[in-house]
Symmetry: C2
Subunit: 307 residues, 2 copies
């Protein structure tokens, strides 16, 4: 056939939200990497089982919710020469911040990788201070006819000049930053991580970006948040997790209205008095909605023009 050998790999974006920060597991290295494994044709009946097996073996974490994300197969994404690496990437949600053993696995802040994605405190400084100048330079060096198009595309993706910030277009934003050479993977020398974001090996940061976008979209119409919170939780706690992932603030009263109008939760009986204010009632997820309603999600109220 051909002299280049094809190899199948698996990648996992393992997500948890702790202390109002979304995190994912990375493996130590320079740069760091997403957990990576292979399919054992003898042992693994399905790709997903293969994933669960080696994640469990390697990090001691038993995955709950798992969803296939994307399969990457571009040339040049293997570190071994002569090997064409085709990787199937998955997103997995885990409840607690299970501390990893001495496997080299650790939890990294998602917004450490993608600092421009966190708009909870308004438009992040990185955008105005570093991204906008980089975009301007990139637009300026284009042929006269393309300048307006480049500026318009950037403005829409990054919520500039009156455009709304679309929380789901994480991948498109990453790809634009890659195109303009803002993220170090694009050949540039290693630079300030707080501004350009912490890089990952190969195209792993791209995978992380795609995963965040997918998850943000999924929040709307499937009750995936509940995979990330403990069995009982307060509505404000739930809201903080949604905010952490979506990267925007939510109107608390409307969030509450949406959640219980949708029948997503029920009172668990019990109180969390550690809030610093009026104690909050504890709720639990109503597993029944999965069967009752066609597309129950948290709906993400109030984020048309965040910031």
């Amino acid at each position: 056939m051909s002299s280049e050998r094809i190899q199948v790999g698996l990648n996992a974006v393992i997500v948890a939200v702790t202390d109002e920060a979304p995190r994912l597991i990375t493996l130590a290295g320079d740069p760091a990497a997403l957990p990576t494994g292979t399919l054992d044709p003898e042992e693994d009946r399905t790709l997903e089982r293969a994933l669960r097996r080696w994640v469990s073996e390697g990090t001691g974490i038993d995955l709950g919710y798992v969803e296939q994300l994307y399969t990457l197969g571009d040339r040049g994404r293997s570190s071994e020469p002569g090997v064409r690496l085709v990787s199937v990437a998955y997103v997995a949600l885990v409840r607690e911040r299970a501390p990893s053993p001495d496997s080299g696995a650790a939890w990294s802040d998602w917004y450490g990788l993608l600092p421009w994605e966190d708009w909870r405190e308004g438009r992040p400084a990185v955008v105005d201070e570093a991204i906008v100048p980089a975009i301007d330079a990139w637009a300026a060096e284009a042929a006269a006819g393309d300048r307006a198009a480049r500026r318009e595309r950037s403005a829409i993706l990054f919520g500039l000049g009156g455009s709304a910030w679309d929380i789901e277009r994480v991948l498109e934003r990453y790809e634009l930053l890659w195109e303009i050479g803002f993220v170090p993977e694009a050949g540039a020398a290693r630079s300030d991580d707080a501004v350009h974001g912490e890089p990952l090996v190969l195209d792993h940061r791209r995978i992380a970006a795609q995963a965040l976008g997918r998850l943000r979209g999924k929040l709307r119409y499937r009750p995936v948040v509940f995979e990330l919170v403990p069995a009982t939780f307060t509505l404000t706690g739930l809201q903080r997790v949604v905010e952490a992932l979506s990267g925007v603030r939510i109107h608390a009263q409307n969030f509450r209205r949406l959640i219980d109008r949708g029948g997503l939760v029920e009172k668990a009986g019990g109180i969390d008095a550690s809030t610093g204010g009026r104690p909050a009632a504890l709720y639990r997820f109503r597993r029944d909605v999965l069967r009752e309603r066609p597309a129950p999600g948290v709906g993400l109220p109030g984020l048309r023009t965040a910031g």
Copy 2:
């Protein structure tokens, strides 16, 4: 490593809508199959390019819009023994019903594969006449405690007993029918195709089901319909295509309101008088919306409780 060899394949669900019927390309055989190809590591820089290459070579069709669907890698999905086949499936949309050469490729009616998915004339006869009895039998043979759960799950998926018909859950419905042995792939002998749907080789019908679900979902928030219609079209024509894919009827006035309130189209100047009634104005897609609005789709009005 292991004695079983891993092989990477590619599958394409190539879609067109003609005469108000969604169609996809299948290769002659018993049963028929989806177009299948491989990645040539030397020649193909990306998976998507590989797909475009062999579809073009094999059927003469140049694909336009292409989107990755899912990667399948379960054991036992290769016809060759000793080979573990990992297939990356794609959905592609093409405009005209390009007639295929003598490559064995032909257009098949999507609802020939999945007859229970077409609710444009109300709940299809197949559901009441064949599926409901099959479900009842399946529920009856369960342990007493599981019967209600089986019935409830079926009712929700198939829009029985007051449940709404959710157009997007195509895959879940297929999987239920597989589970209860209604679709022939599940080991049963070949049966009446008009009722059980035309089978495809291996898990190809499953892929087709997943593709339909994905496409139906995508209609809502991305302007993919326009990939399927000619450069100029009437609003009713556009509506028929949406109806064909979504499998439900749409309130014409609301559809029209949605489309032009969303700025998705503009008058192309010209008239189609062949409608049998008042002549319809011709429109064209406004490519600009892609840059203007965050998530322009056709919105699919009026399909909460179709049928």
